[in-house]
Each structure stands twice: as C-alpha cells, then as structure tokens.
Symmetry: C2
Subunit: 235 residues, 2 copies
C-alpha cells in the first residue's frame, strides 16, 4: 500500500454534487412559473455539453481567464435559442446561472467528507469559482480547509497548473496530495503531475448507468463512496 | 443602522490569534531544549517588528510577491544574529517558521466565529498564506467559507487589491462586505475601498495594554469581542 496523502483534492461537479438533476430542478423552478415546459434534463445536458468547449477557449489561450460563472453565462447564451428561450430577461438568466450554486451533494458526500477530515486537509480542486464552491459547501454542510482550483490557479483542469498550484497552496509536494474524482481524465492529468489518485464511482452522473462505474486508468484506490475512502485511509 | 454585510473578512494576526505569546511559546519549545534561554517575548517582538518592512519590499514592487512563510523566513534570518542564533540549523529554522502555524486564538474567537456563521460568509483576509491560514483554522476549530487574502490577491494589505479581490471572489460589491480587525490602519484601508468596517478591541496584543482598545478611525461598529459583533448583526 502506498504512503497516505496529507491532502485530498476533490473534483466537484459529478464527483460530489449531482449537477444534472440539480440544474434540471432549478431551471424548472425558475422557468416553469413563466409558462415554459421543457425537457429539463435535456436542458441540463445541453448546458453541460458546452462546458468543455467553453473552457477550452481559455485553456488554449484564445480567451483570457474568466471564472466559471462567466463561462456558464456564455454557454447559457449559446443554448437558449435551442429551447425557444432567446427572449429570456436578464434577471432570469442570472437566476439560471445561480442554479449551479444550489446543487445537492450525492447522498454519501456530507458525512463522507466529515469522516475524511481527521485523515487529511480537504479542498475542492474544481473548475468552479470560489463563490460557487463556497455556496455549494454551505448548501451541503461541507467543511473545507481552503477552496483551491481554477480561480486560484487562473486556468482550467486538466491543465497541470491547476493541480500543481493546489499542492503549492498547501505547501506540499504533489506526491503528498491525492486527487479524488469520478472522471478518469481528471485523474490521469493529476497523476501526470505526480499526485496520487482515487476514483469514486458515480454511475448515474448523466442519468442512469451513464457515468464511470470504475476507473479507465490506473489509480491508487477505487471506491464506491467516500466512506470507503475514509476506511482505506484509516487502514 | 447601516445595511448588514453579506460577508465578513477577518484580519488574523492580532485580531483572531495571539501571535506574541504563541511565537514566544513555540520558539521556547524549539530552542529551549537546544540550550538557548532568550527573552522569548522580545524574540517574538523582534520577528514581528520586521513584518511591515518585509512586506513593504513587495508592496512597493521592489521584490516579487512571495507568500508570508517566505517573508517570515527572510525576517527570521535578519533577527537571528541579534539573539546569538546565527548558527541555527535549517531544520530548526523551519520549525521556527512553523511556529506561526500553531498560534492560539483569543478566547472569544472559536465560539464567536461559529456564532457569526449564520449571519454572513466568513473568510480570513490576512497577509498570511493559504497553508498558514488552513493550519490556524484546524488548530483552533475555525470553519471558513474560503481562504482569501494576500496569496489569492498576489499582494499585501493595506494595498487596495487585497480587499477588492476578496469581494470579487465572493461576487459581492465592496459595500456588501465588512472588514473586521483590531488595527485601525487595516480598517481605514478597507473603508477607502468601500467596505464596511468593524473594530475588535485587542488591548493586550503586544503585551498588557499595548494594543488598540478602541478604533482611531471612524468604523461602522466597534466591539470588545466577536460575540458582540454577532449580536449587532442579529439586531
């Protein structure tokens, strides 16, 4: 068994929170009373579908860094016409962007993170901005040691700078830090930077049986839920 | 009474933690067993005395930004000869720098911050680096929403950028944020950026009756301890 990490870094969207049902629910709460009746899950999927292309403009250096709330706004503008929502007023657009600040954690997460606290420093290393991470933590009762990730690093995962800046913020070498995610690409990028890696199965991320039930890359540990990770760390 | 703030930003050294007795205690714990017998409070005062000059090199642009642990290291090198400690080995120097990560909070702080949590987002806006703030939070049972301040802003208080970057991180205008500090100069700088201000009396910061028992500048509220600030916010 490898040495145990001194810090655990968490991916958030998909790994800790259920973005799909949360965005669908919040979009319905915002747009339903205005008379719209969409396929709300399709709306969430379409918005999330613009996520990687939107960040890629910044990762590739074609656009200056902008926090994820701003990227979400740009991506929203892109999908509104597809759903007949191009007339949506400014306040409604703001409310939709804020949907991402109100997502529910998967059922194991709040207690799981509390169980991990005695073992290591805990921080989100997400592409979400600081206020988004702070709101999600409040909403779900999560006690972070710090909020790290894209806004602190000034770039988006899977760029190496995001992982390395997070290690540096805690004054730890990469090998003393572990990235925890439900996405093999995120873990592979972290491993290339020298971090340890833990895969969490989130098989229903994009709807039933659509997510990664197991890692597609070598990892230090693969678990079904966060309690299992705490037991591995305590072993 | 003015509108209530949505975020509270805290100065840390002197305002939340007792750096003087903590550094004296930790220095004694590190150096005492090696046969040194100093005036430990004078050692703490001398080290802290280099604090503003050390940061001024960075604020003035003569040195690139370096986190406070690095500035503490440079300042330690400066004072070691004054105490006959110039032969101190590397591991001991590291242990001394780590003294700043182990400071105790003033008696009202841990419960006071817990009482403030329902009222606003809470973050340190200190010149201390992220790992230093995270360690102090762990040591004292403090639950921050995020760690903001010098390392996130890339400059040191009282430069306006530090206050303004903190407001931006929470996506709030300055007038919705309140700086809480025991030092009038910090509060005056925050007020010039448009933030609300709260003064906390720490009359014994540099030894008995040496600190600010009351603000020297206009503030929105002045309190003797953090519980009083929670009552003001709840009124």
């Amino acid at each position: 068994m490898p040495a145990k990490p001194k810090a655990l870094f968490f991916d958030v969207f998909g790994t800790l929170v259920d973005w799909r049902s949360g965005v669908a629910r919040e979009a319905r709460a915002v747009l339903g009373p205005k008379g719209f009746d969409l396929d709300w899950s399709a709306f969430a999927d379409a918005w999330r579908g613009e996520y990687q292309p939107g960040m890629e403009e910044i990762r590739a250096g074609r656009q200056a860094f902008a926090r994820l709330d701003v990227v979400h706004r740009r991506n929203l503008e892109r999908i509104l016409p597809r759903f007949g929502l191009e007339q949506t007023e400014e306040a409604t657009r703001q409310a939709l962007i804020h949907a991402w600040h109100k997502l529910d954690a998967w059922p194991d997460v709040t207690a799981g993170l509390a169980g991990l606290r005695p073992h290591a420093l805990l921080a989100p290393v997400s592409n979400g901005n600081i206020s988004l991470m702070a709101d999600l933590a409040r909403h779900n009762g999560i006690w972070w040691d710090a909020i790290l990730g894209a806004e602190v690093a000034g770039d988006y995962k899977p760029k190496p700078r995001v992982y390395l800046a997070s290690c540096e913020a805690f004054d730890l070498p990469p090998e003393a830090c572990m990235m925890v995610a439900a996405h093999s690409a995120d873990l592979a990028a972290a491993a290339r930077c020298g971090l340890m890696t833990a895969h969490v199965a989130r098989p229903d991320e994009h709807g039933a049986s659509t997510g990664e039930a197991a890692p597609k890359v070598p990892v230090d540990v693969a678990v079904k839920e966060l309690g299992e990770l705490a037991r591995w760390l305590g072993a």
